[in-house]
């Protein structure tokens, strides 16, 4: 039983040491570039999705106007505003996540406690940006 616990502790210690290892500058540069490219794609996707959703919602408003249905116009206009708000929030979150991915990769250049601190800061920044995106909806 003691042996098993000891093994688990040793394994955990090795794992932790491995986690906090710094990458070489070349590895960091490569990973940051990959993260930036991926992040740009994510933001572009979120923007394109929002644009498509807004166009659909606007078409529904236009159809309601064409039908001369005042109640439906109001309802569809509200839906269109809601769709636009959600789209804007998703774009803001995608941008925040994009910045987070890059920030985390940059943390890999550090080691030990500074690396942990760097990653914690990146998490906090992401959480704050997500909250701000919700509030500004």
């Amino acid at each position: 039983m003691h042996l098993k616990a000891l093994c688990a502790l040793v394994a955990a210690a090795f794992a932790l040491t491995a986690c906090n290892k710094s990458e070489t500058p070349a590895e960091v540069q490569h990973d940051v570039a990959s993260a930036q490219a991926e992040a740009q794609r994510d933001v572009a996707d979120a923007t394109a999705d929002a644009k498509e959703a807004n166009a659909d919602a606007d078409k529904n408003v236009a159809d309601a106007i064409a039908d001369n249905d005042a109640d439906d116009v109001t309802e569809q206009a509200r839906d269109a505003n809601e769709t636009a708000d959600k789209g804007n929030e998703r774009i803001k979150v995608a941008k925040a996540e994009a910045a987070h991915k890059v920030a985390v990769q940059k943390c890999e250049a550090l080691t030990g406690a500074p690396q942990e601190e760097c990653k914690d800061d990146a998490e906090k920044t992401l959480d704050q940006a997500k909250e701000a995106a919700k509030v500004n909806r």
């Binding site: 606007d58 408003v61 236009a62 116009v73 109001t74 206009a77 269109a80 505003n81």
Partner: protein
Amino acid sequence: MMPNLTRTLLVAAALGSTALAGCVSTHDSQSSSRESPAASQQTAGEVVEDGVVTAKVKARLVDDPVTKAYQINVETFKGTVQLSGFVDSAEARARAQQLASNVGGVKDVKNSLEVRKPEG
């Protein structure tokens, strides 16, 4: 023979230049007559888009706790939204402008809302 040919050529040239001049003047009159109304006329697509923008701005104003208390008129022309009517504070006026500005498809907002303090 030669004078006849010369005369024929002269007449043809005169006719040709008159026709060309006619074409140019027709084109000019069309373009000048088209130019001025273009600024004030809309395509069917623009009318629909402006209607959609108006509906969305109205929905925003009606749903907002600050602006819902007022009867605010909204008109849209080529993406420019005009707000008119009366509100009782500068804050409400500014809020209405902010809400309208944030609606998708709005290019500009002309805020003609007047602040009129309630009597008494």
